[in-house]
């Protein structure tokens, strides 16, 4: 009996050791602001082979402040929304850009939040997938395998439900308020917006591909798709981002500010 107990203890230690080796990263905390640091030549940490394990820190490779269709064409606007889009672009050219939610430190909305050039951290627990966003310390909660409750009050980040379709995570977000834009440049949306994301690991788990399916009959003549990709970054920890500090003159990576 004593031998069997000893075996169990060693097994427990082995399980812990295996998972620690798989998941412990080389921490290299980055400071705001966030030029994209280069991916280390040799990622020291093994990726999970499980296609449904999305845990860890992910970071976009670049930042596109616009949303385009997969073929890079402009969204299939209806006339009113296209007019609004052009009005926003012109206002920026005129030096009087039209601010929106994150201008005043509100959450960016969906899908704009996930396109932000700041790392995210995905945490999976039974029935819930949580996405911590460095930008504005926003948090998205994806409630797994359920339908949204009836009469959800619209909010900046809406209500997200998720389920697995083979090895693709499908996230459906509704109940989005109309105080956000789809992109930074000027795509507005109506209260009929529904965003469906198809997320899967690609490139041997080094990247997440997010196909963003946008349905809004109040703004577009048909549904359309955009795409964002994220690189797996076990070398990064999320750092503090406080929008309300309005730190527009933070030093860049060379240590210089643009303050006049």
């Amino acid at each position: 009996m004593a031998i069997l107990l000893a075996v169990r203890t060693r097994c427990a230690a082995l399980v812990v050791a295996v998972s620690m080796v798989a998941l412990v990263g080389t921490a290299a905390a980055q400071q705001a602001p966030r030029p994209t640091p280069p991916i280390p030549a040799a990622q020291k940490v093994g990726k999970s082979p499980d296609p449904r394990n999305l845990e860890g820190v992910w970071f976009t490779g670049g930042y596109d402040r616009t949303f385009k269709q997969l073929d890079r064409s402009e969204p299939p606007f209806n006339a009113a929304t296209r007019k609004e889009w052009l009005r926003h672009i012109q206002a920026e050219k005129d030096g009087t850009p039209i601010g929106d939610a994150p201008t005043r430190c509100y959450p960016h909305g969906v899908p704009r939040l996930i396109a932000s050039p700041y790392p995210i951290q995905i945490i999976q627990t039974p029935g819930l997938l949580t996405i911590l966003h460095e930008v504005g310390h926003n948090i998205r909660y994806v409630h797994m395998n359920q339908k949204p409750p009836a009469n959800v009050k619209p909010s900046f980040l809406g209500y997200s439900v998720g389920h697995w379709d083979e090895d693709t995570l499908v996230i459906e977000t509704t109940a989005l308020n109309t105080r956000t834009r789809i992109d930074e440049e000027g795509i507005v949306h109506s209260d009929k917006l529904k965003v469906t994301e198809y997320i899967r690991k690609v490139d041997d788990g080094q990247r997440l591909e997010d196909i963003i399916h946008i349905e809004d009959p109040g703004s577009f003549i048909k549904p359309w798709d955009a795409r964002r990709n994220f690189n797996w970054r076990p070398d990064l920890h999320l750092t503090e981002y406080i929008c309300e500090e309005n730190n527009r003159n933070a030093p860049n990576e060379s240590g210089f500010t643009t303050a006049k």
Binding site: R10, L14, V15, S19, M20, P49, P126, E244
Partner: protein, 241 residues
């Protein structure tokens, strides 16, 4: 009773099974390290704490200039014109003040970190397990500080330094400086129905010695919805906290 060969075969078989199991456990079932207490839940204080008292029921041991600053703040607040409160402008509460609210938070436990996700201002922090604290001179001062964590038996210990001096210890205005080293000890009590936080404040700028205070949170349903909390200048909630 067991032959050596039988035991070795059993050992090999069990180890092989353990290895296979470690590789195929779904991500959402990997949680706290083996032996760690089960604190993964939504936790909520029954009542917010406005003015911190030590575990002895006393006002914290302010030094002379700490007393002067605190009295100034208390007077201003009593006169209806509070000063030095970061949260009025929707800046963060910082620690330990954030832990004194009665808004719920979820405590995540993973093999390599613990994370706190709060309803109040959708704030979060991630404290990596078994990391060493950094030298305060190697840190940019932040509202969150630099938290590291470790399990000591049945207690989760989170140690943080590298705070800025933009916030106060509590709503009443107890002073807080960038010299703060905050040690939080979380322990399950009351048959796991409650989470006790005992935290020690070591801030030599304003206090004559370290002091300890205590909070208790009730366990709520783990997947309880945390509402979207958005602070704005127009949000009356902003001035309440």
């Amino acid at each position: 009773m067991f032959s050596m060969k039988h035991t070795m075969l059993a050992l090999a078989a069990t180890l092989a099974m353990a290895t296979a199991t470690a590789q195929t456990v779904p991500a959402d079932q990997q949680g706290r390290p083996a032996g760690a207490p089960d604190m993964f839940a939504v936790w909520k204080a029954a009542a917010a704490v406005d003015t911190l008292r030590t575990v002895d029921g006393k006002l914290p041991p302010l030094n002379a200039k700490g007393k002067a600053l605190y009295n100034k703040r208390v007077k201003a607040r009593a006169a209806g014109k509070p000063i030095d409160d970061s949260t009025v402008d929707c800046l963060p509460h910082g620690l330990p003040r954030l832990m004194l609210s009665d808004y719920p938070f979820r405590l995540y436990q993973k093999p390599t970190f613990v994370a706190f996700a709060h309803e109040l201002t959708h704030y979060f922090r991630v404290a990596y397990l078994n990391e060493k604290s950094k030298d305060v001179d190697d840190l940019d001062p932040t509202y969150t500080g630099y938290p590291v964590s470790v399990y000591e038996g049945d207690t989760l210990v989170v140690t943080s330094n590298g705070f800025n001096d933009e916030t106060t210890m509590d709503r009443s205005g107890l002073p807080k400086s960038a010299a703060l080293v905050l040690t939080e000890r979380y322990r399950l009590i009351n048959a796991g129905k409650q989470l006790e936080l005992t935290f020690t404040v070591d801030d030599k700028t304003w206090y004559t010695k370290p002091w300890t205070a205590r909070m208790v949170y009730d366990r709520n349903e783990t997947n309880q919805l945390l509402n979207e909390y958005v602070c704005t200048d127009q949000n009356p909630e902003a001035t309440r906290k």
